[in-house]
Amino acid sequence: MGLRGYIAKKIFFALIAFVIAITVVFFLYHVIPGNPANIFATDRTVNPEQRENLLERWGLNEPLWKQYGIFLRNLLQGDLGFSYLHKLPVSEVIGISLPWTLLLLGTSFVLNAVIGIFLGAFVAWRRGSKLDTGFVLTYNFYNAIPLFFVGMLFIALFSFYSRKWGWPFYFPAYGAQTAGSSEWGFFPHLVDILWHLVLPLTVLTIAGILGWSWFMRGNLINILTEDYIKTARAKGLNENQVLYRHAFRNAILPVVTNIGMSIGGLIGGAVLIETVFSYPGTGRMLYEALIRHDYPLVQGAFIIISGLTLLGLLLAEIVYGFIDPRIRTS
């Protein structure tokens, strides 16, 4: 089977997986306890009759299979539903927070993957050296500290103490932009957004780079024990040639899968970091939707997440097909 057949097969399986995923999401979320009417439940000004009316308006008193049918029909029309928490279409709610998440996590993701892969290769190549030992220690140390704690430390240090101690700079403790900065004009607004991006991005990226390079380091260390590395050296290749022509490309194969899988995770966001830095991303939005039982929003977000995850995996598998001949030609 050639590359084309391989891709067609993968797309087919991705579609099946997608249908299963959305079905599971729908039913799972409808059978766990909880009821959106609870939003009003503790409030004496909302009586049980009014709650019934609300349930009816939101179609929540229909039988489950009927709700599922409506859900599928709407989905085919591109309608993800209506968030009763935000009183907006789900796609619009996601559209509000998505750009911020993409800015924060997307930037972090690219930096993480690129720097992480090369740093991982670099330390794996120098395995056992002081640099490598330092890397392993840093990785373990940073991983042992909860990320929100690091975030808080950064806030205390770079937002408060920097001002208190008279450093020439500081970074904001919260938010993605200064209130009203959109009226300052394009460039100052952009600078303001970047200024707000620095702290959360740094915390995320340090963790991300360490994580990715740890992964890459492990891969490469395994690859370096392979026989073909010996063969390559025996040919008279120098170390860089061995690393980049022979080891790197093999070590990067699992990384490609990981990258593909992480794309969907971007939408899920980094709840902790978004919360600590009060960043208006999808993670926080989704978390709130979950605890407040906003079915349509959770569903919509999960559909997008599973769709993107599957798409990412599909892309990873296609890229895999290109860079790993074993898949393409067998």
């Binding site: 306890p33 909880g34 009821n35 009417a37 609870n38 939003i39 009003f40 439940a41 503790t42 409030d43 004496r44 000004t45 909302v46 009586n47 049980p48 009759e49 009014q50 009316n53 609300l54 928490l85 935000h86 009183k87 509000i96 927070s97 929100f148 808080m152 806030i155 205390a156 937002s159 408060f160 920097s162 001002r163 208190k164 020439p168 700079f169 500081y170 970074f171 904001p172 403790a173 919260y174 938010g175 993605a176 932009q177 200064t178 209130a179 009203g180 600078v191 303001d192 200024w195 978004e274 919360t275 600590v276 830095f277 009060s278 208006p280 926080r284 939005m285 709130e288 605890i291 039982h293």
Partner: protein, 564 residues
């Protein structure tokens, strides 16, 4: 004959000469979702909405009603006919004049649409609604008490007819650019980021500050550092461990009590919870002051056993208080004859079952879980075994009957829950909602399942009387009776009223000018905050940009040299 009751707000005349100006920054810990005066669901939404819209009558810092859009009000002697006179100097944020038609439109809308979630129960009691000149006349089928009308009905937010007339309420629209007549104009809302409000120049009362920026800061520590660093000037509920250091950051602490109280609910559908003496014994055995001091960090107060908040006109000091006394608990249990017969250090009840109880509590609320752990240790020496059972809120709420599910079995021993929104210090009918068997909330179904003693019948009757009684002295007397009965019979075992704490930057604000009472904070607090000097502006990123540019330039030069 009509009795005139109008008054003007009292807070404006108090304290020092204010300094005007400046933008105030005060955060919310979560975002609003829709700015709709008819259907808001969270306190965050309410907070913003009550900046933008005004009702006929607002409450001042001492929870006294004062005229807002209304200039004055009056009622017939039997309280069945109410007349509100509208001020002539009220303008909408878009410059239109607020007229009596807007008020009529809003009231008529509420009267005719029982689906409006934020609708006073008194709208159901209205029989006639009419406009005479610049007054609105509301007629009820019977005479509700002034407190109920003023605090419940007259606090309905007034919306502009010229905007809302074309809008289908059920679409929940008009949260894009809300137009109200409140003290602050809506400027901008970036969802999950911030609100910007500016002073309504045509507002009928003086406003000290030029505007408010309300950032959403989801992490309380981050908000604290923002306050310490000078990004925000006021914050609510700072982390207790940082609160003590507030002075170091030029901040001052202001505490208040909220109308949110927590109780231990004993499922009286089950023996022995339905034995009054047993409930009393338990009440004596809980050191509620310690719970306030340790778990709430002193933010709060003991909630009286009478279920009445411990301030205001209706509080009856003569009702039983149940000061902590574990010896009394042991005595009472001995008197009941419930002693430990099988020597396992747990007493047996009248049926010979051990006094062992599971307490369900919301796992999300760490403070409540801790409270139950404290109760466990308090009751251990009395020979009562308490097990902490943290569960998710939804399951808890369903189990205690909160969803009104008819198939409910009330399968629990004890639960820790809370009540919010019962302004019982000035709101006599709140007892009706809380305790009357005729009302769903106070019924057998939820919160106090199984409370079926003769006391309950008495309390229900008294609540009914309070609802329709018009003589203030009689009302006060009835409420006193209710409190004595409730404190004696203990349908709820009230634990504590939660408190609120605010930090504000003393180098920028003088703070609130509070009334003499330690009453609850309310939506009007922001009007009484006074600026000393406008907050400094100018972010530090310019300096940072310069440094970055310098570093990059130097780096590039070095790099180039090296390559050469």
């Amino acid at each position: 004959m009509l009795v005139l009751m109008g008054m003007s707000p009292s807070l404006m005349v108090m304290g020092q000469e204010p300094i005007y100006g400046g933008i105030m920054h005060t955060p919310l810990s979560a975002d609003a979702h829709a700015l709709n005066p008819f259907s808001w669901t969270t306190t965050y939404e309410a907070y913003v909405i009550w900046h933008i819209y005004d009702p006929l009558v607002r409450l001042d810092l001492e929870n006294q009603a004062y005229a807002c859009i209304a200039e004055s009000w009056s009622h017939s002697t039997d309280f069945s006919e109410w007349t509100f006179v509208i001020r002539d100097d009220v303008y909408w944020h878009d410059g239109e004049k607020l007229t009596i038609d807007d008020v009529f439109y809003t009231y008529n809308l509420n009267w005719n649409d029982p689906d409006i979630p934020r609708r006073s129960w008194l709208f159901d009691e209205i029989t006639e609604l009419e406009v005479v000149d610049n007054t609105i006349v509301i007629t009820f089928g019977w005479g509700p008490k002034p407190a109920d009308v003023l605090y419940d009905l007259a606090t309905t937010l007034i919306v502009p007819e010229h905007i809302w007339a074309d809008i289908d309420l059920h679409d929940y629209a008009n949260d894009v650019n809300p137009i109200g007549s409140g003290p602050f104009k809506f400027v901008e809302w970036e969802r999950a980021q911030f609100f910007r409000l500016e002073k309504h120049d045509q507002y009928q009362f003086p406003i000290y500050i030029d505007g408010k920026t309300i950032p959403i800061i989801s992490e309380v520590e981050a908000a604290f550092y923002a306050l310490a660093g000078g990004d925000i000037e006021v914050m609510a509920n700072p982390p207790p461990e940082l609160e003590s250091a507030a002075e170091f950051y030029n901040a001052s602490v202001h505490t208040s009590l909220n109308d949110y109280w927590v109780y231990l609910g004993m499922n009286q559908r089950r023996y022995p919870n339905n034995v009054t003496e047993f409930r009393q014994a338990i009440m004596y055995g809980i050191d509620r002051q310690e719970i306030v001091d340790v778990i709430k960090y002193g933010r709060g107060a003991i909630m009286p056993a009478s279920c009445n908040l411990p301030w205001g006109t209706y509080y009856n000091e003569e009702a039983k208080t149940y000061d902590y006394n574990i010896t009394k608990t042991i005595e009472m249990l001995d008197d009941l004859g419930w002693v430990d017969t099988d020597e396992d250090d747990i007493r047996e009840d009248g049926l010979g079952n051990p006094l062992e109880f599971d307490v369900i509590v919301s796992a999300d609320a760490q403070e409540s879980v801790d409270t139950v752990k404290f109760i466990k240790t308090y009751l251990e020496p009395a020979g009562i075994q308490v097990n902490v059972v943290p569960i998710i809120w939804d399951v808890l709420w369903t189990t205690v009957g909160g969803t009104g599910d008819e198939a409910n079995t009330w399968d629990y021993d004890w639960a820790v829950l809370g009540w919010v929104g019962f302004w019982s210090d000035f709101h006599p009918s709140s007892f009706y909602w809380l305790l009357s068997a005729d009302n769903w909330w106070g019924s057998n179904a939820v919160n106090i399942p199984g409370w079926n003693s003769t006391v309950r019948t008495q309390v229900t009757d008294l609540c009914e009387l309070v609802l329709y009684e018009t003589d203030e002295a009689v009302v006060a007397d009835l409420i006193d009776q209710i409190q004595v009965l409730v404190a004696e019979d203990l349908p709820y075992l009230p634990l504590q009223v939660n408190g609120g704490t605010y930090l504000y930057k003393t180098d920028e604000y003088k703070g609130w000018q509070l009334g003499p009472t330690d009453g609850p904070d309310n939506y009007f607090t922001w009007l009484s905050i006074q600026l000393i000097s406008p907050p400094e502006s100018g972010p530090g990123y310019l300096a940072l940009g310069a440094i970055l540019a310098l570093v990059i330039t130097v780096g590039l030069i070095k790099f180039r040299r090296r390559r050469d």
